[in-house]
Symmetry: C2
């Protein structure tokens, strides 16, 4: 029997009624003659609520204990989903990340999966059971509980699909796949039927919430086709798979990232090196957005930071160490256009900057790659700039 | 340095502010030159809330999944307490039951500790850390997560104290030790300075909530002196230890049990055997309260059941299998007087029954042992009967 790995996000298991409906969906898929492994996220806002508790205790909670705390979210939903399935007469068993054999590095709060030993899962599948797995978590080779970072349940699903040689990896959420832009911001946004791994990865890195960037990386490495679909809708979803470079390059989607902290630095190169050291020592990740040392007075550098636990403390430490030379800003965000071949020439970059001008939005910095153009602007401009870039690059007539 | 095991109950860690105060208390004890192992329960009503979630999904949730779910409660509080300690500059690390080496039987929801392998705890104590342990949980030899039943955190603490050869085992709650009766019911109730293991065990079995009965059993076996104290008060608490049989036997305390389901059966002996089989198959525990087969028409048996998950389903199953012959009643409760030597002659039993008569409370059944007299009455009589028995057996002049 083919093995199907499904993953249900937090909004799909937000309450008991939804968990019951997911159980029915799982049952149907199983009754069609499949072996099912179901990865679940924490219910609704559970992770945020647990995080808020931790923040009340400590401005910068120790990561190991934070992982201990946050992993409870998925344990709660996995146990409830297993109960719901058994209530429907389907034999089921739930496993934590550790029990599922998800072995990770020991970088708490942003561990990476290094190996999957799914022996217990395979045993239970052979016994005819549906196996429920807590997403987002694993166990380090030091036997410590770890988490994979926000959206890490996607990575769990893809890693399991690869280790189990699954026929499909289905990622369920409250939207029917990947759209050309966030439909809440851009009413014209349309669903895409297919995307390449590269394009999906750029979209995810630049803030698209449908799929976790690491998960896409993993799927590409292992050759797993991902199907992103809606949990309760009847849509066909978006397939993310290897796609040959297009003859006709075009922009596939526009995405914005609001929840950023941006460090801006002005100073000579040694200062920048010192800043990287400072961030590494705290395990803070981000990306180098723009670096410009052309002017005589030293470089400018912008570092959008994601998923920073203990932001207040980071900000205070930064002030002590760097004073006015490095500032943490909360009022900036990015809008990104993604598409293979987007930067084949300068046309698209010019169009993007001209579009920003029509809005009188000051572009603080620009970042480009083979697949994307990303603009750093004041947060206030994000929604309108997203709409205008969508209108500019994705005309209504363009088929998906 | 001496090792101290402390256990804080749910009300002691009910919110972030209380967790912070517990952390300060732990720090003080450590600064006095002790190694600290701190066992925590789930915050406030967390366990009940998780249980309510499970009940929404399934009338009789599978026990294995229920254990997966409920163990999250202690994981949340242990992680938060560890964070709070580190915030105070105290090095701390939290461990789940499994990581602490609490090995149990595989009877989910009421597992018993069979072995403690506290190697990781000992390692971390040697490194100078305070070790926080999730109470109430362990791991079976089949590597499944198990729970020890209500109040099981006490058992965790005592078992760890024994395994670590601790100097003291301190059980903290919101009352300053063991009282002659529940002070909310009996205003005259007084704190006891000391109690024997036997007496404490009888009180706990009969509903006193200060200490878990299995924990007391464990302490007796291992010769661990337990000190029951208030978390935030300055009282001296109650010591539970080996006490030679008293020359002057007297009643130490009166306790009532409200949260009981009582099965009453009338029928011949084979019916009773069938009932025991029925209960065993469902892992339902209780105690045989009274069994009377003297009358020609068959026996009467009363079984107070504790901690029954899935009571509605049990009741339905019982009806299908036994019809009118075995009935589950919710409107009964017990009042119990405890004291070594209480039944040396019939005096105290006579006094207890006479006291019930003054209240016109019908006594459905009586249970006695070397240490206690327990009366099964309508729930409505419990508070007043407790007060009257306290007045009868524990005169105001009696020193504690």
């Amino acid at each position: 029997m083919p093995i199907i790995v499904q993953k249900y996000g937090g909004s799909s298991v937000a309450d008991v009624e939804k968990i019951r409906r997911v159980a029915e969906r799982v049952k149907r898929r199983r009754d069609q003659g499949n072996q099912l492994v179901v990865v679940v996220s924490a219910m609704g806002d559970t992770t945020d609520e647990l995080l808020a508790l931790a923040k009340k205790v400590s401005a910068d909670p120790p990561r190991r204990e934070l992982d201990m705390l946050l992993t409870c979210g998925e344990r709660i939903s996995m146990a409830l989903l297993s109960m719901a399935l058994q209530e429907l007469g389907v034999e089921a068993i739930s496993f934590t990340g550790s029990q599922s054999g998800i072995i990770t590095t020991d970088e708490h709060s942003q561990a990476r999966i290094v190996e999957v030993r799914p022996f217990r899962i395979q045993d239970e599948l052979r016994r005819g059971k549906v196996v429920i797995v807590a997403g987002y978590q694993g166990v380090s080779y030091k036997r410590e509980v770890t988490t994979l970072g926000r959206g890490g349940s996607d990575t769990t699903a893809v890693a399991l699909a690869a280790a189990l040689d699954a026929e499909a990896c289905e990622i369920y959420s409250d939207v029917d796949g990947v759209f050309t832009a966030d439909p809440r911001v851009v009413p014209d946004a349309r669903k895409l039927d297919a995307l390449s791994f590269d394009e999906m990865q750029e979209l995810a890195s630049a803030g698209a919430k449908v799929l976790n960037a690491q998960a896409v990386e993993f799927a590409r490495e292992k050759g797993i086709v991902i199907l992103a679909r809606s949990t309760f809708g009847e849509g066909t979803g978006t397939a993310i798979r290897e796609i040959a470079a297009p003859l006709d390059p075009r922009v596939k989607g526009i995405t914005a990232e609001h929840e950023l902290a941006v460090i801006s630095v002005r100073g000579p190169q040694p200062l920048v090196a010192e800043l990287f050291e400072f961030l590494d020592a705290r395990g803070v990740r981000g990306r180098l957005f723009a670096y410009d040392a052309m002017s005589g007075e030293g470089g400018f550098i912008a570092l959008p930071l994601k998923d920073v636990h203990g932001l207040e403390r980071l900000e205070a430490d930064l002030k002590v160490r760097f004073g006015e030379r490095a500032r943490l800003k909360h009022d900036l965000g990015t809008v990104t256009a993604v598409g293979a071949g987007i930067n084949a020439d300068w046309t698209n970059l010019r169009r993007a900057l001209r579009t920003a001008e029509t809005l009188q939005a000051h572009v603080h910095a620009v970042h480009t790659s083979a697949l994307q153009i990303s603009l750093l602007v004041d947060k206030a401009h994000l929604p309108e700039l997203t709409r205008r870039l969508h209108a500019e690059f994705i005309p209504a007539a363009q088929a998906t």
